[in-house]
Every structure is written in C-alpha cells, then in structure tokens.
C-alpha cells in the first residue's frame, strides 16, 4: 500500500518538475525564472524524501537539507542581484 502511494507521489512530483521546467524555459520575466528555479529545488527535496521512503534508508537526508539551504541562498542572491545590481554590497 505504501509502495503504491510512493509511486503515485513520485509521478506527481515528476510531473510538477516538468511544469516547473516549462515555466523556467518560457519565462517571460526574470522573476518568473527565479520562482521556477526555487520551486524546482523544493520539488527535488520532495523527490529525495520519497526516494528514501521507497528504499527504506535514511542516508540522503543531509542532501535534502543541503538542497534546502542552497536553494534559499540562491534565490535570495538572484533577487538581490535584480534589486541592487550587486549581491554583497
């Protein structure tokens, strides 16, 4: 039962990542692309968590945690660059 639910959730998240990639490629504004990248990172975290439930191992949680941190810092850096033309003033 958990196996079927995990497969369903993995396909949902995969479809969601495809739509994020579509928005990333299409734009039309730069802020749209930043938002699409941010959502792509969050969906990648979801995919890692689902993979761990499927395999029954807790090895990759550090990767998910690092992805959450790096994704946030990257989003803020992109927005800071758009706002000020500089990241660290």
């Amino acid at each position: 039962m958990i196996g079927i639910a995990v497969l369903f959730a993995i396909s949902c998240v995969g479809l969601a990542m495809t739509m994020n990639l579509w928005r990333l490629a299409r734009g039309p504004t730069t802020a749209d692309r930043i938002l699409a990248l941010d959502t792509l990172t969050i969906n990648a975290i979801a995919l890692i968590v689902l993979m761990q439930i499927q395999q029954g191992s807790a090895v990759y949680f550090e990767a998910a945690l690092l992805l959450a941190m790096v994704g946030f810092v990257g989003t803020v850096a992109y927005c800071k660059f758009l706002l000020r033309g500089d990241i660290v003033e």
Binding site: A9, T29, A31, L50, A64, D86
Partner: protein, 138 residues
C-alpha cells in the same frame, strides 16, 4: 485483502495528499496569468505538500523501519521559515523592475508603472536612489 495497519493507511494518505499538493502548486505556477498570482502556488501549496511528505517520512521511519532521525524536522523547519522570505524577495524584485518599466505584464494592472503610494514618499524599493545619484563609491 492483505493486512494493513493504521500507520500504513496514515502514511499512504499523507503521501498521496503531499503528491497532489506538489502537483497543484506547480500547475498554478505554469497556468496563472501574471507573476503576482503565480507566486501563490509554489510558495504556499508546494511548501505544504512537501511538509506533508516530510510528516509521512517522520512517521514512516520510526513506525515501519524502527529507526529515528531528526533530519525531517530540520528540513520542515527550514523550508517553512525560508519560503515566505524568498517569496517576499521575488515580489520585491518584480515590483522594482515594474517601477523601472522592465518587462511589464498587462495582467498585473501596473503595466504603466507603480501607482502613487499616497504617503508623500516614494516606493521604499527606490529609496537608495539618492545615494546612487551622488556617485558614492562602494
């Protein structure tokens, strides 16, 4: 009919809810007409969906596998703390560019530039303009 415990039903329900929420959030990102509406999907719905998946993982590892780790709690805490901040930053950058007449979108209703704030002062995002015009070296 196989033997299904209450934990399995709970975990499966949380997994399905989380997957559907992630899908709906990204669908909103792909389908909404302007950036200010597009921000709603990923920042609220997708974050909630990932939170649901993490709760499922939090129940799955102690109840089924017999192991315990606090990583899910850390990821949930971090995601729920940072999602509003990044949404705020993206909205600020978008408003800044709209005020500069860079890529306006008619669906935002501010294609001709930002409206008057009605407070006598300008928009806070352009408050650093004076120091820029004074050519202060950074």
């Amino acid at each position: 009919m196989m033997d299904v415990g209450p934990f399995e039903i709970l975990i499966s329900a949380l997994l399905v809810i989380g997957g559907v929420f992630a899908l709906v959030g990204s669908w909103g990102l792909a389908r909404m007409p302007s950036l200010m509406t597009r921000l709603h999907g990923p920042t609220k719905v997708t974050t909630l969906g990932v939170g649901s998946l993490l709760v499922a993982s939090m129940i799955f590892f102690p109840a089924i596998q017999g192991t315990y780790s606090a990583h899910e709690l850390l990821i949930t805490l971090f995601l729920f703390l940072t999602a509003p901040i990044s949404a705020n930053m993206i909205a600020k950058a978008h408003l800044h560019r709209q005020g500069r007449h860079i890529d306006p979108n008619p669906m935002d209703d501010i294609a001709e530039g930002l409206p008057d704030t009605g407070l006598g002062t300008g928009w806070a995002t352009f408050q650093g303009l004076d120091t820029d015009q004074l050519n202060i070296p950074r």
